[in-house]
Amino acid sequence: MRATDDDTPSDDTPTRDDDSGRDVRTDGGLDDGGDARTDGGTGDETVFTRTSDVPTLTRREKARRTFDRRIYAPLAVLVRDWRAVVGGTILVTFLLTGLVAWVSASNWWLLESVVLVEQPSVMEGPIFTPPFQSMAYPLGTGVMGKSIFEQLVHAAPAMIQMILAGALLSVTIGTLIGTVAGYRGGAIDKVLMSLTDVVLTIPGIALIIVLAAIWEPRSPLIVGLLLGIDNWPRLARTIRSEVLSVREESFTEASRIMGLSQFTILRRDIISNLMPYISINFANGARTIIFESVALYFLGILPFTTLNWGVMMNEAYNGADLTNPSQLHWLFAPMLTIAVVSLGFILFAQGLDRIFNVRLRARHESTTADAESQ
């Protein structure tokens, strides 16, 4: 890659420019006015001394190119894919709801007086108001007269914490074990994969339920971490088998020859190539954590400490007359929320799949080589 640069007289440009490590870009000495062809001498111009005249980018151009690659092209792909748009909208709404609830419940000095959505309280309205009847209780109320809408909104921060903690934990462990095992190979691979197999075979939900019963975790973060334990082995296996092919690629080999540290190789060459799997697994992991946590709260295995969709379902299931259709909205509201949020995660994961599809992305970049030549 860099061999072609070595013979040029002005040898300082490549190191400044070549930041990605595997962009094949031969640079002429452009600091002296762009007449690169004359640099290598006029008489004996050979294949080794000749340099091409690709212009050096100014800082602004570089910024524009980075923006184009990292932000514009992915967004362009996303916007053209309806699944990503729908999924993204759902997830952004979910996050905003969490923010609204957090701001409303916060006691921090500036935010103390700001209440966007009231905290749900007992007997704030008549019992069993049907949904979509009054503006004060958009989704109706339950047997205690608590607004279902407010309960759903104020359940969001705890759910977000749980999802993030669990999905991050499983993705981190899975990626770490998968890449190290796949890249290093040998004894480390054997040990790590045996460990993965063992965890994979242990029935996850049963283990989590036993752990939850013993420890009775109260913080949503801890619940999330607990649920994340079960999720990583599958990701670790997928990632390992991908790493096995990426490690043989020429750019990885080039990095090895250049003597980059193993950590750098793992980070820049391996993990960046596996981002599709990782992000899709993050979304799937998030969905699994929603499902499992709601189930455990619904059954009452986890202690009812925070407001939560599962707790709401439990209260509705035990509190409402299930043969009376006019009371069922209490139970169906959290159920529908779960379905919609997990639909958001699934659609967004499918949209991400398209972002990481290199060919598709190249079509939307305006600064790629193809776009420039046209």
Binding site: L200, G204, A206, V294, A295, F298, L299, S342
Partner: protein
């Protein structure tokens, strides 16, 4: 042959790891049940000063009565006894609440769990494979689009929500199915119509729900089928005049099944775990329900016993699935070079 030995050996190792982990959870961790109970009793009985030897002895005996483990013994002795009892005598201790051996309780409940889970899994897998194949063969049609949307929606709804809704609709409101229990009162167990009809009636909704839980494979199978149908040898087979049915089953189906097979195996692992949730919702007195009750009563010997039970069943299921892999994939000869999942 060495592959089979290795695979069985691996299962045995996993079993021991699980039992050890269970023991560690139970006994070794600072906030495990044994330790917690001991601390609680200490606080209750000993008001001030250090406890007398008689008091310590009494507390230890009480803890042993409740958990089946004497906290006074060193951990390796306790571990050895725990392992020894489980492996040699299938002795998981005695349930605190029911006052019966844990093994007897679980062993009696196990067939009912297997009944529901296996029927659910078998039905779910068969139907989703058939649908996947049908979708692949009618690719791009209205049926395909509709079923694809349905499959995606199906994955957004957890199976227990299906269970709850089914219970509300078919049992509480329409009254077609009972809302709990596993057999009709007053029927005599045996090979007679009322008894069998009662069993089917009680199992219908739980099986329906675990059927939905095992339904995920349709989309993956569709993708595999489409990929396989585009290959050259299928075209060649058509040119040779091999019948469509034979191509669909022996050529496309078989080759498209392989990648899905591993996910079916993983389905087994989640199946027995999810039976805790499902059986509790349906009040179906089998292993999962027993476990749930034990959790609510803090009946630790029973909780630990059922965790070991669940693991053993899962291990057995995965082992059988793994060892039969060679039957559908003739290329795997012993499977030594293959990843096990």
């Amino acid at each position: 042959m060495s592959y089979y030995l290795k695979r069985i050996g691996q299962s045995v190792v996993v079993f021991f790891v699980t039992v050890t982990a269970t023991f560690a959870l139970y006994r070794m961790l600072p906030f495990g049940p044994v330790e917690m109970m001991r601390v609680n009793l200490m606080n209750q009985l000993v008001q001030q000063g250090s406890p007398t030897p008689q008091q310590v002895e009494k507390i230890n005996r009480m803890v042993e009565a409740y958990t089946g483990i004497n906290p006074d013994k060193p951990w390796y002795v306790a571990y050895y006894e725990y392992l020894h009892d489980i492996v040699l005598y299938q002795d998981f201790g005695v349930s605190i609440v029911k006052r019966e051996p844990v093994f007897d309780i679980l062993f009696e409940a196990m067939p009912w769990s297997l009944f529901i889970s296996i029927y659910g899994l078998a039905l779910g897998t068969t139907v989703s494979l058939l649908l996947g194949a049908a979708m692949a063969y009618t690719e791009g049609s209205r049926f395909d689009t509709g079923m694809t949307i349905f499959s995606i929606l199906n994955t957004t709804i957890p199976y227990y929500i299906v269970a709850i809704v089914a219970l509300i609709v078919f049992s509480f409101n329409l009254g077609w199915f009972p809302s709990g229990g596993r057999m009709t009162q007053g029927t005599t167990p045996g090979f007679n119509y009322p008894f069998i009809a009662g069993i089917v009636e009680h199992a219908a909704l739980p099986i329906l729900s675990s059927f939905v839980a095992g339904f995920g494979g349709a989309l993956a199978f569709r993708g595999n089928c489409i990929r396989e149908m585009g290959k050259g040898y299928i075209r060649l087979a058509r040119l040779r005049g091999i019948s469509q049915g034979r191509i669909a089953i022996r050529y496309v189906g078989r080759n498209a099944l392989l990648p899905v097979y591993t996910s079916i195996m993983m389905g087994i692992a989640s199946l027995f775990g999810s039976s805790i949730i499902l059986e509790t919702i349906f009040n179906y007195p089998a292993m999962g329900f027993v476990t749930f009750e034990a959790l609510m009563d803090r009946d630790y010997p029973l909780i630990m016993g059922s965790f070991v039970f669940f693991t053993s069943l899962t291990l057995l299921g995965i082992l059988v699935a793994d060892l039969t892999y060679g039957i559908i994939d003739p290329r795997v000869k012993g499977g030594a070079e293959r990843e096990s999942y």
